[in-house]
Symmetry: C2
Subunit: 235 residues, 2 copies
């Protein structure tokens, strides 16, 4: 633990790099954040919090990737979103004053800052620009949720899978060989799309036959973006 303290990232630097919601804080407020926050490390598979928990603060991702999901009736996960560096999670439960309605699990080893509820409330009360920024964020996420609802309700699994591949490409990028940078199990893919693992596998290999993607274990190389776009019916 001790040795980590040296590496604790400074919020002022961090927010410059990530253009995060903290960009409008005064230097005193940033200092307070630096002082009050708790820097933590997590490994793939670690759980940050679980549905039903009361949470005493929110998390700002500094490094790594986290999946935020809900557990359905029969125990099946539904992935709601991912959080990557610069993004925050668990603020929803904290602000709506409800127990967490999602769980958060590490996909890629993480470094995160934990910021207690009181600090969040203090900032909201003292800095209107920060409030507005948070509101924008929440409203933006709400818009994305609405689109997702419409997609799941109306599109076929095939369309959704194509769309998700493109979305992952936009959100996490691709390497030099056009491989998706984010690495997910087939089950996780299924849990985003909202389908069975087997269906994802079958559709992926269809996409492969159609020269839309190339598969190497969990590596997915995007060969034909336009083709996927066409299948996904996004406009």
């Amino acid at each position: 633990m001790k040795q980590h303290e040296l590496y604790v990232p400074l919020c002022e630097k961090c927010s410059l790099e990530t253009s995060s919601i903290f960009k409008h804080l005064t230097s005193e407020e940033v200092e307070m954040l630096n002082f009050e926050k708790d820097f933590r490390h997590y490994k793939r598979g670690d759980v940050l919090y679980r549905e039903g928990n009361r949470i005493s603060g929110f998390y700002c991702i500094h490094k790594g990737i986290i999946k935020v999901f809900k557990t359905g009736f029969d125990g099946k996960e539904q992935i709601i979103r991912f959080a990557k560096p610069g993004e925050i999670i668990a603020y929803r439960s904290v602000l709506s004053n409800e127990p967490a309605c999602t769980s958060a699990k590490v996909i890629e080893d993480c470094q995160v800052c934990f910021i207690p509820t009181e600090i969040l409330i203090t900032l909201i009360k003292s800095n209107p620009s920060f409030s507005l920024e948070l509101l924008r964020l929440a409203c933006h996420e709400l818009g994305e949720a609405n689109s997702f609802i419409t997609d799941i309700a109306q599109k076929t699994v095939r369309e959704r899978l194509a769309e998700i591949l493109l979305l992952l490409m936009n959100d996490f990028g691709i390497d030099e060989q056009n491989n998706l940078k984010i690495s997910l199990t087939r089950e996780e893919l299924a849990n985003i799309v909202g389908t069975a693992t087997e269906s994802v596998i079958r559709l992926l290999s269809e996409f492969k036959s159609d020269k839309l993607v190339e598969l190497n274990g969990r590596k997915i190389r995007i060969l034909n973006k336009k083709g996927l776009l066409k299948i996904s019916n996004v406009f």
Copy 2:
């Protein structure tokens, strides 16, 4: 128009009755609202705004019911939520600074107050309690959206229909004969559940055979709440 001015509801009274997000405003702020807002009437079928529009303010419902929906790829509506007296719509687009991602149409004749964007921003900047209230609202809606996503992704149409009936019962209430107070076409029901009109019709008549509901045109009488609850797999 002139004659309506007499009937313009006062925000101070309104917010007492509906315990709306405006409850923490100062009396000067309420006065400003009263002065700046525009009181409007709409009839069933009227459209308040459409997807893609830039909106110059948000609406607070005083009377009536509005459906908020997205239009999918093939023109099919997906109902995202309803708004009833005391609730506000379109604040999402205004705050996230994006064009509307939904449309809003009147289900039951409406009286609404239209409040310009500037006023909203002014209030957020000047009154932190109001910001917090708005944040709570947005976060709460986000939580509901997340549940809805999980439901649509994982439950059968049958389960969802049962769930929606109960939800409509909670949100809009029932009359003395246990009839749902809200009156929707079969198509609208389908567009909430995310299914085909014919499927809703068939399932409703199954529910009827199973003595769970009684049907009289658009009137739906809830006969067996526990039965529906069991089908819906809500816990």
